[in-house]
Symmetry: C2
Subunit: 369 residues, 2 copies
């Protein structure tokens, strides 16, 4: 019974694909990261070339070689809940399948993102003298409300542990480099009028009719594609909700539209706000949400060397991810990890052994060449 309380040994020298299976078997749905964090911490503390820090269920291990550059390799330890469908294979424990001579690993977190975490751990053990100082960052609570994020907590509690010239998040990108991310904001435009019985509508003023101009501006708007450091970011300006009306015989005195603007990393949040204020000049904009974009940072030497080592054309990232947290700290960041992001959170989440190994080889080459 007591044995269950002791962190299991992780063999960081094993094939990173096998290590992925061991990590999946340490179930770690958000909020239950304690055992996996303990196992990761214990394994890293056995490595004399690393300095290890623990903050809640986050673990940071760093080389302290005095190199000119420092890079971060980051990944989250938590997963979404296990599938509830009987027979689903994206669960705990993991299972292997042989297909066309390839080995495929099924389990919760196979793609999102215990494959990436296994690569981090294998590199941490193997690279005793990397060409750049490396900070290996493992954190909790990524799959839940952003306010609970273990990475956000680390930023607040020990920002010095995250300082770097460049960061790689090992989120699943199927082996391609996805750089930076668009920012996102939400706002509401409310039109007002004067209520009346619809049988005497000339006494009133229809607030829904007044949305015609707002929708016309949305409809006429051509979203831009903006090139930042060689990557093309497509923007978007969309109504995501509209509402108004009281009853079938009432001229409504209020109507509203909810708008989402996804903006390229050429703009600060303030510049993005100025842009939508211009598009909707004459209206009051009520902002409900605003997250900064992140530049890909591909102009930094560490990033250029990374892209060369990976040997792949970088792509822009459209969704908002934790790279924006690094970007906000002044650390350019990209996503690069094993597995297909479309399989994340699915009932049959899986990753090929070869994808995990390829990711390991690419990063090892970058950090030793």
């Amino acid at each position: 019974m007591l044995a269950a309380m002791i962190a299991p040994d992780l063999d960081l020298a094993a094939d990173p694909a096998e290590l992925t299976a061991d990590l999946i078997d340490l179930e770690s749905v958000s909020g239950g990261e304690g055992p996996i964090a303990d196992a990761v911490e214990a394994a890293l503390r056995r490595l004399p070339h690393l300095t290890v820090h623990r903050d809640g269920d986050a673990v940071v291990a760093r080389t302290e070689l005095g190199r000119d550059e420092r890079v971060v390799l980051a990944g989250h330890l938590d997963t979404v809940p296990l599938p509830t469908v009987p027979g689903a294979r994206g669960t705990v424990p993991s299972s292997w399948e042989e297909a066309d001579g390839h080995r495929v690993l099924y389990g919760r977190g196979a793609t999102d993102m215990k494959g990436g975490v296994a690569v981090q751990l294998a590199l941490a053990a193997a690279l005793t003298e990397p060409n750049r100082d490396v900070s290996y960052v493992f954190y909790d609570h990524e799959e839940v409300d952003a306010a609970a994020s273990g990475l956000g907590r680390l930023q607040r509690n020990a920002p010095e542990l995250l300082e770097a010239d460049f960061a790689v998040l090992l989120e699943p990108t199927d082996g391609t480099v996805e750089g930076g991310c668009n920012g996102t904001m939400r706002f509401r435009i409310t039109t007002t009028g004067r209520a009346a019985h619809s049988g005497r509508s000339w006494i009133g003023e229809n607030a829904i009719h007044k949305q015609a101009d707002v929708l016309a501006r949305l409809s006429a708007y051509t979203p831009r594609t903006i090139t930042v450091e060689g990557l093309d970011y497509r923007e978007g300006l969309n109504a995501t909700g509209i509402g108004g009306g009281v009853a079938g015989n009432v001229v409504p005195d209020t109507a509203h539209v909810e708008i989402n603007y996804r903006f390229a990393p050429d703009k600060t949040p303030e510049e993005a706000v100025a842009h939508v204020r211009e598009v909707f000049a004459g209206y009051e904009l009520e902002f409900t949400d605003l997250s900064a974009a992140a530049r890909p940072g591909l102009d930094r030497p560490a990033a250029a060397a990374f892209v060369a080592a990976v040997g792949q054309e970088p792509k822009p990232k459209y969704g908002w991810t934790d790279v924006a947290r690094f970007s906000a700290m002044g650390v350019p960041a990209v996503n690069f990890g094993p597995g297909d992001a479309l399989l994340a959170h699915t009932d049959d989440e899986h990753v090929s052994a070869e994808a995990v190994r390829e990711c390991y080889r690419a990063l090892a080459a970058w950090l030793t060449d």
Copy 2:
């Protein structure tokens, strides 16, 4: 105890204002019209110059004098529920108040419409030989769902009892003549698109944006004022509801707007439908509700004589009322009754004694001159 089961005597020869008080004291919230219908029937059966019919809680009494013209005087016996606010005077029993030398009667139904019913009953008793044959129609279930209407039931069960050249509904109009009524229809226009994550909105097609054109047509539409038989009917075309949107990060694939068209009695329902199909050409219109307009019928001899007798400039009626039921049967109809319609259904519903008497005098003059 048994006495309560017997219909109380109504003195139809009394001052119609006093008779109004007696009728108020016979509580008759919709669904509870039995006692008042019994009392009305009993009083009318005592009059040898009338033929009396009973259908449920509706009562029809007719002169059979073989006149060239027949007119209907109609009113409903039910009221909305009693007020629940302590101290409200628009309740049962009624109460009198003296103000500036005028007597004012408070009680549920004082305006809507026991004053009108009292006038009907007083005329029925007094006019033994009217210059036109008269059908006095009293009905139940007006203040509830239209499907329950006692007038509608009479139309189905005994349409011959309602046949006439002209009808007056004694609904409260403050002594003016309100002729005909606008028709009303409701329909929905749904726009569709293709759902997408708003971070990749170019993959989708925004259904809310497509409402821009629908709202632009509504906003640009100038409602007409159409003169029918000398009365000016103002039309209206209004969005009464709009909706769409799934979540703050989703390009919605469907949005809808609810539209209400109030149309003048120059148009049949079919013509009104054709008009909105033209306004919204290119869209599919989903109709949810359609009620015909009613012509005022002021070109009929009985109506012209009525207007002359009342000595007031007729006004158009904008809301939909039971005059439309008569109109649909080919009987032109107007509203003319004592009391201010704005007091109907209020906690302090009241009517002046003089208003009831004036209405009585105007109708008596028309039917005896």
